[in-house]
Symmetry: C2
């Protein structure tokens, strides 16, 4: 199932996910000789995990178009096919995003009423316990207004059903909050949203990039180009701040001495510090959904660890348990979209 440190984090992640989802069963595709010893580390895991030996794999450098033709026996493709043929309810992969999207689109097909699938993720906001869903994050560089409306439906259902937000506030990412601002496509999409009568949530207008994390909206809709740049800018900034703080620490003897003097205080506040760290920890927001397909497909960050991977499994399990695609189909029907396209 790919990722920088597979299959270790995959097996360990599955073990960790069993704490929250004791009913979960797994099929794992990959090198059996590598996987078996890892499974045996965790008592009982072998009872719920089928290993399918698959020597062929997709690498992070493979081009999606090539893999689509040549990778039919790869672990990624076979895992997706298991969802397509109903053997599994969801696929989780930490591998090549482009290849995963291309294969998932081909094998799972797009949901009726959806023009284009999207990649969506959720992230923390300053309102504790309130995550914000953002999509598309890179599946479609350009998006017509109607596609953005469909993204709003997908994101709204995710926010309501998975993040348990009562009536999700849906916004369009733009460079100003006034109606006259931004690209034509976005202004047209704003009209579609404003006139849509049965959204899974409430359309609240435009949002600017600096307000994504304020917790004032629950779903941020954008084209895949802008969404990808915004998401990466957010991730990069968080990493940069941490790195600059560490750099400052390394270079300053005073900071080191200060830290030693702080130790009693740090020990006292340790549980609170850990809670804060957890709130900011990207592993707890791991698991981007490839939405709008006839099967569930979750992309884990390639560089994550077993905690991150177990959270991606959690997203997949949550979406399978609430029957995410059935809820999406019901919403599309309300908008008069599902039937036309079926």
């Amino acid at each position: 199932m790919g990722g920088d440190d597979a299959p270790r984090i995959v097996v360990e992640g599955a073990h960790k996910a069993r704490g929250r989802y004791p009913q979960a069963r797994f099929i794992i595709y990959g090198d059996e000789a590598e996987i078996r010893p890892l499974i045996s580390r965790y008592p009982g895991l072998s009872d719920v995990m089928d290993v399918r030996h698959t020597p062929d794999r997709v690498t992070s450098d493979d081009k999606p178009s090539v893999v689509l033709r040549t990778g039919r026996q790869s672990s990624m493709r076979l895992a997706i096919d298991a969802v397509a043929n109903g053997e599994a309810q969801a696929v989780v992969s930490a591998g090549n995003t482009g290849a995963l999207m291309a294969m998932a689109k081909f094998s799972l097909k797009v949901l009726p009423g959806i023009r284009r699938p999207a990649i969506a993720t959720f992230m923390p906001t300053q309102v504790p316990g309130r995550g914000c869903v953002m999509l598309d994050l890179g599946a479609n560089v350009d998006c017509e207004p109607q596609i953005l409306l469909e993204f709003g439906v997908l994101g709204g259902v995710f926010s309501r059903e998975i993040l348990k937000v009562n009536s999700p506030r849906i916004a369009l990412l733009n460079i100003g909050s006034e109606a006259m601002k931004g690209r034509e496509t976005i202004k047209d999409a704003a009209e579609l949203f404003a006139n849509a009568e049965h959204l899974p949530g409430e359309y609240v207008g435009f949002i600017e990039g600096d307000n994504i994390g304020r917790g004032e909206v629950d779903v941020v809709v954008t084209d895949g180009f802008t969404g990808n740049v915004a998401l990466k800018a957010i991730e990069g900034t968080a990493r940069l701040i941490i790195r600059m703080a560490k750099q400052g620490f390394k270079k300053s003897l005073l900071l080191k001495l200060g830290f030693i003097l702080c130790l009693p205080g740090i020990l006292l506040a340790y549980p609170a510090l850990m809670a804060l760290k957890k709130r900011l920890d990207p592993r707890y927001y791991n698991g981007a959904s490839l939405m709008g397909l006839r099967g569930l497909c979750i992309k884990s960050h390639g560089g994550t660890d077993s905690i991150g991977f177990s959270n991606a499994i959690g997203v997949a399990a949550d979406m399978a348990l609430i029957r995410f695609n059935d809820k999406v189909a019901a919403e599309l029907e309300k908008l008069g979209l599902g039937k036309d396209a079926a």
Copy 2:
């Protein structure tokens, strides 16, 4: 000169800027009755600051198109006109960005060889002392490849002349580093950059949103829509992290107690902590340039304080001292652009 706390921060900022630029002289446009008492607080400031009483002002809600017609006697417009008629070498404003750009374009006109002016700023990277210039940040929602090339020239000259980077590495913001990724416009722009023989720096290819702050490139070129979203996502994330940390602190008695125990350590490390804070402080990166116009125009953040405003004045002074537009003209000529359009 606008901004949330004008004219106080403007006068105080000018006073602070005199420390670094003792030769600077100022013309300030606004309500004389308000401004005079502020100036008298700083010995000697009245000798270098002319006050032009201007009751009319542009507000943050004013539409650029309306202001362009009706705001000819506003403080913003008169300050721009002072640059247009050669009385001042640069204008610095913390007011309405859209109005400033519209008026500056109208009054100053675009430089020969430049199709569209751009808004540019610089931000810290993880490489100490190395700032990264990004443009456009919102002046042009869509940009043809040739316009992006011109932005590269403007950003390259700024990096080389103001940030003192020897041969600036110029990159195009994209959603992947491979040549096949992204929008058509960007792929076409990449070709223009790769074939340009006399750039003020070196074209190094695509950069993704998470690498903007890594210090691996010196100039990030993008359209105004993407640039605005990226910049605001960066600013918003930095604010969000600080806010979440403060929230955690407020709500946790343990963290507060821990903090008290940490006081000796914090006092010891205080100078190092302040140095780190300064490195991350947005006030030290305040001052976005409206580049590509026949006069220098600097936009300060509306919510900044006098330290931030003095840094915006510093950007204006630096650009005036090195004769920024002359350097741009020389670079455009090398590319065969300046003369054609002149």
